[in-house]
């Protein structure tokens, strides 16, 4: 195991959708700059979408929807806690991304005239643009990264930022294949490390059957935190409706336009709107606790042609093993309703709102540091938001690097992280990472899950503190791969502590089930229509405070040409 050093003008942490787009756009904006992408996996198949995605859930296509409508939709969906300028920017600039992806060979559904076909799943507008053959999206992006002459180093897991004061100076990490210590000096850094997807335990009992790609274990959140960067909305968890035991989405997005819906055991439709939100999960949770459970995805009433079309999408892009799962349980959409459930809890702004605090320029609270995608705080971004804000982050990070000098890297930071990283290797017979991970995720599932109470959060914090002192010191690893998994457990612990403290700090309930706080069961706009922000203080303590929301640019629902009624999100 050696030390490998790199120098780049712009370094990107995580080559998923946001990261690859950031790299492409950084290089496009400033071709003379050196751009380096680090990925703990391989950028051809890494990140949240790995194998592809069934569609763009939030495409604002001119003539079908407006940025104003979309911005208001997300303002309502996220209970008012949004930076409207950031959401508006995504809505205004995403159409160019769609056209650009189209020109790169990504396949979108179009009507007979060649216009993009969009469907309604949100509360009001039409934003869902199917990608029937999008299983090669990541391959296309990876190819573009190479065409643009960006440097890619796969199998490197970034673990800490190098900083000087409130300015970023580079990235430290581990090669999870050969165990090399990685030091990267850079003028600007883009964090695109994805969700914290391995927080709660899964229903199936298998540690890695998470909704999110299990590689996305919260390093981005942890790295930002330890560098003293501001995070926000951490109390706004992610919990998604999925197949029971299988990490496939419940799939109203795909099946809904064909006439599929969420049903009770009698086959009766139970949701009016299947747009994912804390309100939807709250409705499902209440039904579960009233014994009106389970819920099902119902397609049995559809004709064979429609079901075949749904299968052609669901079984080939986002979750290609879905057919195997259903077949293994002897289920067929033609004859059987398929049981649904909630995903494990996690942090992900892609569907929810937790992330590193960024503005509409993808700028974090640290100079030279940008963030995009599932770990940046723009709510409900989904895939298209990762691409759009990836572009914004890439362009701005390159502009910053073009005018900045390279800082000296702190030898003290480099050596401290070297010691931290390799510690588990000193205990080859230590407790295996799977067991240590199970224990922290058990704490998350049993104490951090809503409904939240002060008592539960306090107990969680006591257990987390004990876990840091005892369990993390028992954690062992026998090779670089296991070492990477062991370090991921550290990220999970950091995120768990942030979840507990942010939840305790917001003394109201908001976002439906995501922050259902029994000690403060009502939404309190008078006192809490603001952000909860946290960061690590100078002495290593966690600081929590509020920040006013950026000024609203749209204060009421824009008049829509296509007024539709009775699309209320409720359980019938």
């Amino acid at each position: 195991m050696e030390t490998r050093e790199y120098t780049a003008d712009v370094v990107i942490v995580g080559g998923g959708t946001a990261g690859t787009m950031a790299a492409i756009k950084a290089k496009q904006a400033y071709p003379s700059l050196s751009v380096l992408v680090l990925d703990k996996a391989d950028i051809r198949r890494s990140g949240a979408i790995s194998m592809g995605m069934d569609g763009l859930n939030n495409a604002v296509i001119p003539g079908k929807a407006t940025p104003e409508e979309y911005t208001w939709e997300i303002t309502e969906s996220n209970d008012g806690i949004v930076d409207q300028q950031a959401v508006f920017r995504q809505a205004s600039e995403c159409y160019d991304i769609v056209k650009e992806l189209d020109s790169w060979g990504v396949d979108f559904e179009k009507d007979a005239k060649g216009d993009y076909e969009v469907y309604r799943v949100h509360r009001k507008g039409r934003y869902v643009l199917p990608m029937p053959k999008a299983s090669d999206l990541k391959l296309i992006l990876a190819k573009k990264v190479k065409q643009m002459r960006c440097k890619v180093v796969n199998r490197v897991m970034a673990t800490r930022l190098l900083t000087e004061g409130n300015r970023v100076a580079g990235v430290l990490g581990l090669d999870v294949k050969n165990g090399d210590y990685i030091i990267v000096r850079a003028k600007s850094v883009i964090l695109t490390a994805g969700a914290a997807g391995r927080m709660g335990l899964t229903d199936s009992g298998y540690l890695y059957s998470t909704y999110e790609n299990p590689t996305n274990s919260g390093e981005g959140y942890a790295m930002a935190y330890h560098a003293g960067v501001e995070l926000t909305g951490i109390e706004c968890y992610q919990i998604n409706p999925t197949m029971k035991d299988y990490n496939g989405p419940a799939c109203a997005y795909v099946a809904g336009p064909f006439g599929g819906y969420t049903a009770n055991a009698k086959g009766e439709r139970v949701t009016g709107c299947d747009y994912w939100s804390g309100e939807l999960i709250m409705n499902m949770w209440k039904m579960a606790n009233k014994g009106e459970w389970p819920l099902y995805l119902k397609l049995t009433h559809l004709d064979d042609e429609s079901i075949s079309k749904i299968e052609a999408i669901l079984h080939h892009n986002e979750r290609p093993s879905r057919d195997r799962f259903h077949a293994g349980r002897g289920k067929d959409y033609r004859t059987d309703m398929v049981e649904l459930h909630f995903s494990e809890v996690g942090l992900c702004s892609g569907h929810s709102a937790a992330g590193v605090l960024v503005d509409h320029e993808a700028q974090t609270s640290m100079e030279g540091l940008f963030a995009a995608g599932d770990m940046a705080s723009v709510p409900h971004q989904y895939l298209l938001g990762a691409l759009t804000f990836g572009k914004i982050a890439g362009t701005n990070a390159a502009a910053y690097a073009a005018g900045a000098a390279q800082l000296e890297a702190s030898q003290e930071q480099i050596e401290a992280e070297r010691v931290r990283i390799y510690k588990p290797l000193e205990l080859p017979a230590g407790v295996p990472h799977q067991q240590v991970e199970t224990k922290i995720r058990r704490i998350v599932s049993q104490y951090l899950m809503p409904p939240k109470t002060v008592v539960k959060m306090d107990v969680a914090l006591e257990k987390i503190e004990h876990f840091r002192k005892v369990d993390l010191t028992l954690l062992g690893a026998r090779d670089p791969h296991e070492l990477g998994r062991a370090l991921e457990v550290h990220s999970i612990v950091d995120c768990a502590e942030m979840m507990a403290k942010a939840s305790l700090f917001r003394k109201e309930s908001r976002w439906g089930f995501y922050h259902y706080f029994l000690d403060y069961p009502e939404r309190d706009d008078a006192n809490w229509m603001k952000r909860v922000v946290l960061r690590k203080g100078e002495n290593g303590e966690m600081l929590l405070y509020t920040k006013e929301l950026p000024p609203q640019i749209i204060t009421s629902r824009p008049a829509s040409e296509e007024e539709e009624t009775s699309h209320v999100q409720s359980v019938v």
Binding site: R44, R45, S46, G205, T215, N247, F325, G328, G484
Partner: protein, 78 residues
């Protein structure tokens, strides 16, 4: 279903990633694209599932140039 890898991970049911050793040409693509990094080449240059940390996401199967890889749902998820 038989796991034809000589390096079958030690678990009482079959591994979720099965490599047909007769077909495997040792090109390493499945090892490279696996997000969780759970595959490796054995001492005969054939791919096998080294770590039981599978997301059954299927790039290994899809990107294999000789159709040597089959992904099954891990036992607990089935």
């Amino acid at each position: 279903m038989f796991n034809l890898s000589s390096k079958l991970i030690s678990q009482p049911v079959e591994a979720s990633v099965i490599i047909d050793r007769d077909k495997c040409i040792g090109c390493d693509i499945c090892v490279q694209v696996c997000p969780m990094g759970i595959l490796a080449l054995d001492d005969q240059g054939k791919a096998y599932m080294k770590y039981d940390e599978c997301w059954y996401c299927t790039p290994c199967q899809t990107d294999c140039p000789v159709d040597a890889v089959t992904v099954n749902i891990p036992y607990l998820v089935r």
